[in-house]
């Protein structure tokens, strides 16, 4: 008999665990499965399947408004994620060198906007941007998205940075590398996986955002989630399913890429 029975402590052996887990996964994924399934519907209904076809995807790709909104979304996400990654890297580099308590305080400040209900941030941003005369549109969207992307980009970057041996930078300095060269040749390459995960996370968060975008987007700067929502008001067709499924696909690709990066460097 084993000295310590690990199985008895394993939560997976509690009665009802299997059922609960199955139900939870089902509730998580069933809506997505149905969404994707009906995106292939040959008919106009989103609740009755009349055979399979690509017609709604063809409609999506032929729809210039959707294309414009998608382009806005991707452009916004790329800019916001990139700027946020640079700023988060700067923050992480400064914060790993802080004492533990000050670092916790700095992190709280950085993270606070995430704790505030998003609708509050959205309204506050709307009022703020209007009152400083920035108005609605792409510029405001970029600023707002960059801001809420920073804490997301920060997490993987700082995780990578704290796992890095601080002696490496000392070694580079010892071997006559100037501070900027130390960063470029040693810190940055070793940080790269964290930067990529951080960027992808920020990218997906920006791409998926609805509330803030719906408040701040002006005519011509509509993002895809905002556009999908407006499509709903005109009556739901499987075209909405098709464009949503494409977003799911994009998210899945990003998540898988980020997972692969993490696995390669663990």
């Amino acid at each position: 008999m084993a000295l310590f029975d690990a199985r008895a402590k394993d939560i997976r052996n509690l009665p009802g665990f299997g059922l609960t887990a199955t139900l939870a996964v089902a509730f998580l994924y069933a809506p997505i499965v149905f969404l994707v399934l009906y995106s292939f519907n040959a008919g106009r209904s989103i609740s009755r399947l009349d055979g399979l076809s690509w017609r709604w995807y063809q409609a999506v790709f032929a729809n210039e408004e959707i294309a414009g909104a998608a382009l806005n979304s991707v452009l916004l996400a790329v800019i916001a994620a990139s700027v946020a990654t640079v700023m988060a890297t700067a923050a992480a580099l400064a914060m790993v060198r802080m004492k533990v308590r000050r670092r916790a305080a700095a992190y709280a400040v950085l993270n606070f906007p995430l704790m505030v209900p998003e609708i509050v941030t959205a309204i506050a941003s709307l009022i703020f941007f209007s009152s400083v005369g920035l108005g609605l549109g792409f510029g405001s969207l970029v600023i707002a998205h960059t801001t809420f992307c920073i804490p997301f980009a920060y997490l993987p970057i700082t995780a990578r940075l704290t796992s890095m041996d601080p002696a490496l930078e000392s070694a580079a300095a010892d071997l006559y590398a100037r501070p900027w060269t130390q960063f470029r040749l040693i810190t940055l390459p070793l940080l790269a996986p964290g930067l990529m995960s951080g960027w992808l996370l920020a990218f997906i968060v920006s791409l998926d955002d609805f509330i803030i975008s719906s408040m701040l987007s002006g005519p011509g700067s509509t993002t895809l989630p905002v556009h999908i929502y407006s499509m709903l008001r005109l009556g739901i067709t499987p075209e909405v399913n098709a464009v949503s499924s494409l977003m799911v696909l994009a998210s899945a690709l990003v998540v898988i890429t980020s997972g692969l990066i993490a696995r390669k460097h663990s």
């Binding site: 041996d165 002696a167 000392s170 070694a171 010892d174 071997l175 590398a177």
Partner: protein
């Protein structure tokens, strides 16, 4: 001219961590001169400030008191990249994303040397540490001993005037450590570079060093050649830390030092002074109690017989502190053997007893 001889001179060097009540003096006014071309060792127990001292010399940390001169030049405020000093770090700190050759050539690349010169130096360094054929491996494809060699080659490649080594052998197994000891020593002799070597292993220090500074509590307890440190420890700490001497409390009487339960041994000093007698375990002979003569220590009782292969060691009781004797096996002295319970006495070799102030 005097300065030319000194690789590194530390004057009143101090490093205090923290402030106020939580302040901790990791280094407390260290005065040391490390000569050019010598193998200098900082020896001391964990936490005594060895790494702190090395970091100050390397420029990774700034002193809170005193100054450091490297080849006569005050290096206060100079960053590591401006000091003619290279370091072999405690855990090697090899760049994991660079190959062996890129690691070794890093400093030369930073110094802007031509490609051909870098390649030639790298090849020479790799050969010097016996890593031919591994130039294109990354650090995670190397064994501990190989990593250690890469770290050494990397630090030697730019031709430093002083090489700092922070416990470079501690991560290696006993056999490899023995071999690297000889290799390091040979390397130091060939290159003529001043080595400042940190260790907490006294055997390592005694075997390799030209001079040793024994440290404890942020201070240098004794500075000297290995023989001096071993044969003539300056105080209780050094006597105990190096070679584990028997430390016997005694008082100076009219006829010598009187140790309770051990009799009187010849010693001079202020009458009535409390002293400590330090005697190395291997500089004592053990005899049956019946053969005790004046000046011998005893009578004592054998409490434990410890067989250690090439040596035989006894723990003896009957004095204020337990005493240890170590005898080589075989040979003339090795003929003696005793079992626990035997009544014995000890005879010290001439000059083996050192009187230390308590």
């Amino acid at each position: 001219m005097q300065d030319q001889e000194d690789a590194c001179r530390l004057t009143g060097l101090g490093r205090t961590y923290g402030k106020g009540v939580s302040a901790h003096r990791a280094l407390d006014s260290i005065d040391l001169t490390i000569r050019a071309n010598e193998f200098f060792t900082l020896l001391g127990p964990s936490g005594c400030g060895k790494t702190t001292l090395l970091r100050l010399i390397g420029g990774f940390d700034q002193p809170t008191a005193g100054e450091i001169a490297i080849f006569g030049r005050n290096v206060a405020g100079l960053p590591p990249e401006d000091r003619p000093v290279n370091t072999v770090f405690q855990n090697y700190a090899l760049f994991p994303h660079l190959t062996v050759a890129e690691n070794v050539g890093f400093a030369l690349r930073m110094l802007g040397r031509p490609k051909a010169e870098i390649a030639a130096t790298v090849a020479r360094m790799v050969a010097l540490v016996g890593l031919e054929g591994m130039e294109h491996r990354r650090p995670d494809q190397l064994s501990g001993g190989q990593k250690q060699r890469v770290a050494l080659a990397r630090a030697l490649a730019p031709g430093p005037k002083i090489l700092l080594l922070d416990e470079p052998l501690s991560a290696l197994d006993a056999k490899l450590r023995q071999r690297m000891r000889s290799e390091l020593k040979a390397l130091q002799r060939e290159t003529g570079i001043t080595f400042v070597f940190v260790t907490h292993d006294q055997d390592e220090a005694l075997a390799m060093s030209d001079r040793i500074a024994v440290m404890q509590g942020g201070r240098v307890q004794q500075l000297g050649k290995p023989e001096e440190i071993y044969e003539a420890p300056a105080n209780r700490f050094v006597a105990d830390f190096i070679g584990g001497a028997n430390l016997i409390p005694a008082r100076i009487g009219a006829r010598g030092a009187e140790a309770e339960g051990l009799g009187v041994v010849p010693a001079s000093g202020d009458l009535g002074a409390e002293v400590t007698l330090a005697i190395r375990p291997e500089r004592l002979a053990i005899l049956p109690a019946g053969q005790q003569q004046p000046g011998d220590l005893g009578p004592l009782r054998v409490a434990e017989r410890i067989y250690m292969g090439n040596e035989l060691s006894f723990r003896l009781e009957g004095a204020l502190v337990p005493l240890h004797v170590t005898l080589p096996r075989g040979g003339l002295r090795g003929a003696q053997d005793f079992t626990p319970g035997d009544a014995v006495c000890l005879r010290a070799e001439p000059g083996a007893i050192r009187v230390l102030s308590s």
